[in-house]
């Protein structure tokens, strides 16, 4: 029943999925944290930008963002992100789109984490003479991130599955392979089962491991 799999590089496709996930996760963690810092910061312009960014980006369908990075950024504006061949360009554009989209959710997860840190922590930090970036970086964010492990895990799992949208611009990841197999093979149930199983293999351990990590690093009050 699963004989047809020999003709396809299933592992290779999932490896692309993993690469998309990890690169986008790293990027959106950085950008999302910066956005969260802007949203809680004292500068009105930055607060406004952070708020506008989150509210616009998280309400646009990911497909639109990914298609825009390919059609708009690449084909219209000629942005190729330093790559020459079609596959690499699309891979990088997909990562960019996923970062743009996921960071809005990462920002909100971290902001929720910041809300768990009592006001007194920041006041005590200010009272010993720390500057705003130091208060945030040394006292508030370290505690906020620990509290945000749970919500961030949700965002990471969602991101893993959202990488399938990259198939829309031809990135050869798991969902792209699935489409190809569906066109060529008759075993539709088996194809769905293989792809679904692959994703569960990626996301289930993510949830379990990060759940454990979240408990381990939790700040005791």
């Amino acid at each position: 029943m699963f004989d047809f799999l020999d003709k396809y590089d299933v592992l290779g496709a999932f490896w692309t999925t993993v690469q998309l996930t990890l690169l986008s996760a790293a990027g959106s963690l950085v950008w999302g944290t910066l956005l969260a810092a802007m949203r809680v910061g004292p500068v009105p312009l930055m607060r406004g930008f952070g708020t506008a960014y989150v509210n616009i980006v998280r309400n646009i369908p990911l497909t639109v963002i990914i298609l825009f990075s390919s059609l708009g950024l690449n084909q219209n504006l000629g942005i190729s992100l330093g790559a020459n061949d079609f596959d690499t360009i699309n891979f990088r554009l997909a990562v960019l789109g996923l970062i743009v989209y996921t960071s809005a959710f990462v920002c909100e997860a971290i902001r929720a984490g910041i809300n768990t840190v009592p006001v007194g922590q920041a006041e005590a930090a200010r009272a010993i003479g720390l500057s705003f970036p130091q208060v945030l970086g040394l006292v508030v964010l370290p505690q906020a991130l620990r509290a945000a492990v749970g919500p961030l895990t949700n965002a990471l799992i969602a991101l893993t599955k959202n990488t399938t949208v990259a198939a829309a611009i031809g990135v050869a990841e798991a969902a792209f392979l699935m489409k190809k197999m569906i066109e060529n093979e008759a075993e539709l149930l088996a194809i769905s089962a293989v792809i679904a199983f692959g994703f569960v293999c990626l996301t289930l351990p993510t949830g379990l491991i990060l759940g454990w990590v979240g408990k381990k690093v939790a700040v005791k009050r």
Partner: protein, 258 residues
């Protein structure tokens, strides 16, 4: 109340360290600070007492600008409080603050709590910072707890660490915002003793408290606040035995005789 006693030496210097002039602040419609004039001399211990909601905590928090004011001026060591920014941060480093709820950094050990400001604000050498931190922790009697996290300590121990954390910055003045109000009764004295010792050593202190025993024994001056105003200022003996204002008489009659 506490039975800790202290011999007070007369403060010779009349150098003005903290000066508040006609300070006003509103919380919405509530006028929490009304034309506050207060001068604190170097080495002086001023205890601020008064009923809840009288503005005494707010007053304390305006001195290092954790609360902004609507009008008036506040100067520390001759310099007016700057706007939010680098200069304000530098000034805050010179003003130690101890909070009602301790506010120790929950993700750092006791030792790291006392070292953080030295390393990041004073740019001290790590080894020297650790030595100083351990010495201060010994001084407040929690030296053996240095490697624990704040949540593993009792309230009294946490508050003493918080005092050490403030002292590590070498402050010119220490602000205490109801430092014993969140403590179990049996832990109040261990904190007050540390504060008594500080007062004896000549630290300039502004203490908002309900501990009348401390006010009697450690204060150079008692400031009584009610409804956002300073109603009465006097030496502790005079204030407790012979209050001038009716408001103070009423307050003292409610708290001293039971």
């Amino acid at each position: 109340m506490t039975n800790v006693s202290v011999t007070k030496e007369d403060v010779v210097t009349s150098d003005e360290l903290v000066v508040l002039k006609s300070v006003n602040k509103h919380f919405g419609a509530l006028h929490v600070l009304q034309d506050i004039d207060l001068t604190i001399a170097r080495g002086e211990v001023v205890v601020v007492i008064g009923p809840s909601g009288s503005g005494k905590s707010t007053l304390c928090r305006t001195i290092n600008r954790l609360e902004t004011i609507d009008s008036g001026t506040i100067a520390i060591d001759g310099k007016p409080l700057p706007q939010e920014g680098k200069q304000l941060a530098r000034l805050r480093a010179d003003v130690g603050m101890v909070f009602q709820s301790f506010n120790l950094f929950a993700h750092k050990t006791v030792l790291e709590n006392v070292m953080l400001g030295q390393l990041k604000v004073r740019k001290a050498d790590r080894k020297q910072a650790e030595e100083k931190a351990r010495a201060l922790l010994d001084r407040v009697g929690v030296g053996t707890q240095a490697d624990k996290y704040p949540a593993q300590l009792s309230g009294g121990q946490q508050q003493r660490v918080a005092i050490a954390r403030a002292l590590a910055m070498g402050p010119k003045v220490m602000l205490f915002d109801e430092p014993t109000s969140a403590l179990d009764p049996e832990m109040i004295n261990e904190v007050l003793e540390v504060m008594q010792q500080l007062a004896r050593e000549g630290m300039t202190m502004v203490v908002v408290t309900h501990e009348m025993g401390f006010a009697r024994s450690a204060a150079n001056r008692v400031v009584f606040m009610a409804d956002g105003r300073i109603v009465e200022e006097a030496a502790p003996d005079q204030f407790f035995s012979n209050p001038r204002s009716d408001r103070a008489k009423d307050f003292l009659s409610k708290i001293l005789h039971h």
